[in-house]
Amino acid sequence: MASDHNLPPLLTSVRIDTSATKTARYAALTADFNPIHVDPAFAEGTPFGVPINHGTLGLSLLMQAVETTLGAVPQVMDVRFSKPAPVGVALIAGGELLDTGDGYHVHVTTADGVRLIEGELRLVDQVSTRQKEPF
């Protein structure tokens, strides 16, 4: 499909180094105090063995990569959380332009390339944002 968008080939990569402190702050920001994220003693008894980052921490980083590259553009994003990441690893968000030219293959990885979040972003036309009745 031809695209009217003239998009850069790559999203600007964005990175954060996660830590227990940042995880605690993200838990406070989202009210998500699930012990799998914030309690090492609890996490030790899970299949992961250690606390894992909130999945939407990486998703937020991915949105920042899009925003840094394109601004706050109308878009549709569809991603899967394919693998959890231990607290303490670096998260790197980025993406490559799709062949169709109207969006990106997007991902969040660790510094050694393990894919944590993966999916597609497509730009969409601006539509009215006036809210009708919620639900």
Partner: protein, 136 residues
């Protein structure tokens, strides 16, 4: 329009139904929230126009505040987002409505999809679908 549930115990899979409205939550993008966000992402929130990524954390907060308590071990498996091209503003109050849109059992797993809609000042900012595997 769905219906509000009067569930009083833990929100197990059987307590949900498609179309069920779980509630509406207000989240203010105040200085405390911006401070947390800045410390997490090592970015000062200097502008009146904030990062759209703040809509994700607000969506998750609203999702987590409704339908409590929940069984331990739920998994956030996937996420769809539609952004309408309007960044949130410093100090703005977001109204976030959350409801159940799909409920199904596949291959022994209990799947629930929640829809979230964020609005402010009469404008839609984000619509999202939170795909989860429910533990019990």
């Amino acid at each position: 329009m769905g219906h509000q549930s009067d569930v009083t115990g833990t929100w197990v899979f059987s307590a949900f139904s498609e179309g069920q409205v779980l509630g509406s939550t207000e989240v203010c993008l105040d200085e405390g929230r911006l401070g947390l966000w800045s410390e997490i992402f090592d970015q000062p929130a200097r502008s009146e126009h904030l990062s759209v990524s703040m809509l994700v954390s607000a969506m998750m907060e609203a999702y987590l505040r409704v339908a409590q308590p929940r069984p331990p071990g739920n998994i956030h498996a996937g996420q769809k987002l539609r952004l309408y091209g309007r960044a949130p503003h410093r100090g703005e109050v977001l109204t976030i409505a959350t409801r159940v849109v799909r409920k199904e059992e596949r291959k022994g797993r209990k799947w629930l999809t929640f829809e979230s809609e964020i609005a402010a000042g009469g404008e839609k900012l984000l619509s999202g679908e939170i795909l989860t595997i429910w533990a019990e």
